[in-house]
């Protein structure tokens, strides 16, 4: 793709702003307390913006519109689930978790259940989830950069890794809080402005595409003569008789072929397809071809219904197990503030998710060629130029690109801080220097994986990490907070069984992806089975090992649930790292600006 100077400007501005804000606040970060939990002085509004900023990942910014483009009404469950997760988090976890005073998720688990073995196990899962979630961010960065700039796709992944690691090394949580809060508003702006402009153009009729085409039940059609270059091997489902000029890789001349109705055409990587204006769009096999199916939810049978429920379960319970989400809740001053933060997050996310839906629906009309290549994640990036060719479209693309870049940066920095925090307090001694070492180590692994692994759709792989989080940590958190009877063997078995099931589904899914997509839908979205299993195993084993209940369970429950004014909350930070002498300085509150 040719160089878009506006997009380049947008990216450079975001990178510079991120670096500047991170640098400015990292000057005040000196202790472990700063690096891991920003001194626990972040107010609920700022914290909510930071949480939303880090949570709205590439999967939300690019992936949701792509999913809507591909799956239509059924894809709308992703944003609902992503938001509803915070309700579950707020109802069952937020305030008690903050009152536990823990630094990290394994810290909490050890405080509640008093088992070092369980703590190690939890650490392992935090690292796995963190990496599984970071890889699609980096891959998304690569994809986004190649869409608007003439650079190889690994460049974006490396650039994000370097920038994020730099910020985290310098100031840890304290530095990234400000950066992430800024990035939420940037992302909202970067989707809302193009959405409003494009809608205005669409409504006023000053566009080049087909208006109101979504209303017709037929598959989408190409608005103009279109050349599509296939980047990965795809199978295309043809719903109408389609004449197409094909140029296979290595050949120099086009051959005109007519694809038969109902056929599934296998197209190899590197092929160029030319469609005339008005031809109906053949779509990749996993997407919905007819607009009538696309508009109507639940049109593809029982397995689809179950898959939807599976997704709801994964996202509803998965959010509370995501390490980078939880770690932000520890930065609240107290339990009440943690709850308020969650309410704010519900507002901010609800506001944001209106726009990807809108843009996804518009991209079905204007950029249907993405359905042929299967790279639907690029929908938001391609849309402005398709609606508004020329400089206006380029500027809008630049704005969106800046937002997308902010999405990669903030989510990856959140993940990096949380995983590095866990690694540094668990495997090392938890000093600032250890945190920096851990950051370096943790940053390298996902970068390596992102460069070597096959990129799949952003929302789908993110869906898998939600399923993993929901099947490992949510039973421990929910039962640990609300049920005295939880024991460490129960928690451990539940975590291993749930996590093991999801990981095996992931393996099955990957293998099947390489060998012809034979896996059932359950391998794609296994939460419907794994989450109830994990809960059941946890409860049953806990009941069987009643003797293993920790002796201090009553005291811990009191600490988790007693209202803040009674003063039972005891931060492990003070007990463990002796940071109490720093407290006098928090009054300045420089980083709260």
């Amino acid at each position: 793709m040719q160089l878009n100077p506006w997009a380049l400007t947008g990216i450079v501005l975001v990178a510079a702003m991120t670096f500047y804000l991170g640098h400015r606040s990292s000057r005040f970060a000196s202790s472990t307390h700063d690096f891991l939990v920003a001194r626990r002085t972040v107010r609920s509004r700022r914290n909510a913006a930071a949480i939303s900023g880090e949570y709205l990942s590439a999967a939300s910014f690019l992936g949701v519109a792509g999913i809507v483009l591909k799956e239509g009404a059924d894809g709308l469950w992703y944003p609902i689930g992503f938001t509803a997760g915070y309700l579950a988090l707020m109802l069952f976890v937020a305030a008690p978790l903050r009152r536990s005073g823990a630094y990290t998720l394994p810290d909490f688990i050890e405080a509640r259940l008093g088992s070092v073995a369980l703590r190690r196990c939890a650490t392992a899962f935090v690292v796995v989830i963190g990496i599984l979630y970071t890889v699609p961010q980096l891959q998304g960065a690569g994809l986004a950069l190649t869409t608007v700039l003439p650079v190889p796709w690994w460049f974006g992944a490396l650039a994000v890794t370097v920038l994020v690691a730099g910020n985290v090394l310098a100031g840890g949580m304290r530095a990234i809080t400000v950066v992430q809060a800024f990035q939420y508003w940037l992302k909202l702006f970067a989707l809302a402005v193009p959405a409003f402009v494009l809608c205005a153009v669409f409504v006023s009729g000053g566009h080049s595409g087909p208006a109101g085409a979504l209303g017709s039940p037929a598959p989408p059609t190409f608005p103009a003569d279109t050349t599509v270059k296939i980047e990965t091997d795809v199978g295309l489902r043809v719903t109408m008789v389609t004449p197409v000029r094909v140029r296979k890789p290595g050949e120099t001349e086009d051959r005109t072929v007519v694809w038969a109705k109902g056929a599934t055409e296998q197209v190899a990587k590197g092929t160029e397809l030319r469609f005339a204006a008005g031809t109906s769009v053949p779509v990749v096999t996993e997407a919905l071809s007819a607009n009538s199916d696309w508009l109507r939810p639940g049109s593809t049978g029982l397995s689809d219904l179950l898959q939807t429920y599976s997704l709801i379960l994964a996202t509803f319970l998965g959010t509370m197990g995501l390490p980078h989400v939880l770690v932000r809740f520890y930065t609240n001053p107290d339990g009440k503030a943690a709850r308020r933060t969650a309410v704010h997050v519900l507002l901010l996310l609800g506001l944001f998710y209106l726009f990807p839906t809108l843009l996804g629906a518009m991209s079905r009309m204007y950029v249907p060629e993405l359905l042929v290549t299967g790279q639907t994640d690029a929908a938001v990036l391609r849309l402005p130029q398709a609606v508004l060719p020329g400089v206006a479209g380029q500027i809008l693309t630049g704005v969106i690109m800046a937002g997308a870049f902010a999405a990669f940066l903030s989510t990856s920095s959140g993940l990096l801080v949380s995983v590095a925090g866990v690694v540094s307090t668990d495997l090392f001694k938890g000093k600032v220097r250890d945190f920096r070492w851990a950051t370096g180590i943790v940053a390298v692994i996902p970068a390596g994986l992102a460069l070597t692994m096959r990129s799949t759709d952003l929302s789908l792989s993110v869906g898998m990490s939600f399923a993993l989080a929901a099947s490992t940590f949510s039973p421990i958190l929910v039962l640990g907070i609300w049920w005295r009877g939880l024991t460490w063997p129960g928690a451990m078995t539940g975590m291993i069984v749930g996590g093991g099931l999801v990981v095996s589904a992931l393996v099955v899914n990957t293998v099947s992806g390489y060998t012809g997509n034979w896996a059932p839908w359950l391998a794609d979205q296994p939460a419907l089975i794994t989450v109830p299993t994990a809960f059941a195993v946890t409860v049953l084993v806990s009941l069987a090992t009643r003797a293993g209940r920790p002796a201090d369970v009553n005291a811990v429950m009191l600490r988790l649930h007693a209202p803040d004014p009674l003063g039972f909350m005891r931060d492990r930070a003070v007990a463990r790292f002796g940071q109490i002498e720093n407290r006098g300085r928090t009054g300045k509150g420089r980083h709260r600006k």
């Binding site: 709308l76 209202p563 407290r583």
Partner: protein, 167 residues
């Protein structure tokens, strides 16, 4: 400035903001209003001194002795203390489950409704498919309202608990 006060007192949150405010309001009021309207300032005076007293008394032991005893009792986990905490935990859990259940029934009912009735899935309202409104817009206000409701309930439960301990 407010932050400083907030931080120092830590456990006891409520009185501090009033301390900051009464100080700020009080000083100009007494300096300026005394000559022109001495009668007017009098009804205000009795209202303010009690406030001030409360703030001053926030720290001393006389007020916190019963609280302290209750806290010690809670911490030492007498059967009474355990019962109290259990009761609070149950109330909070019940509120959480009720709201989660409500949301799950409303949202979780949608896929089933769409699956069972294709007519319902195809309904249009003023040109927009109803399903897209139900899935793309309405869940977010619903979730926010549920969140606000829980926040209110949970804070009320906690206030009740604190009041009970302090009396």
């Amino acid at each position: 400035m407010n932050d400083d006060i907030y931080r120092h007192v830590e456990g006891v949150r409520e009185p501090d903001p009033t301390l900051g405010k009464t100080r700020g309001r009080h000083e100009p009021a007494t300096v300026e209003r005394v000559p022109p309207a001495p009668v007017e300032s009098q009804p205000e005076q009795p209202a303010k001194p009690p406030k001030r007293q409360r703030v001053v008394l926030a720290d001393p032991r006389s007020r916190s002795t019963p609280t302290l005893r209750a806290r010690v009792e809670l911490e030492e986990q007498t059967s009474w203390g355990t019962l109290l905490v259990d009761d609070l935990v149950k109330r909070q859990l019940r509120a959480g489950l009720a709201l989660a259940g409500l949301v799950l029934v409303v949202l979780g009912g949608l896929p089933l409704a769409f699956y069972l009735s294709s007519d319902f899935a195809g309904v249009h309202v003023v040109g927009v498919p109803l399903a897209w409104l139900l899935l793309g817009v309405l869940p977010f206000p619903l979730l926010l309202l549920a969140g606000l409701a829980y926040n209110r309930l949970a804070e009320r439960h906690e206030r009740d608990f604190v009041d009970m301990i302090e009396n």
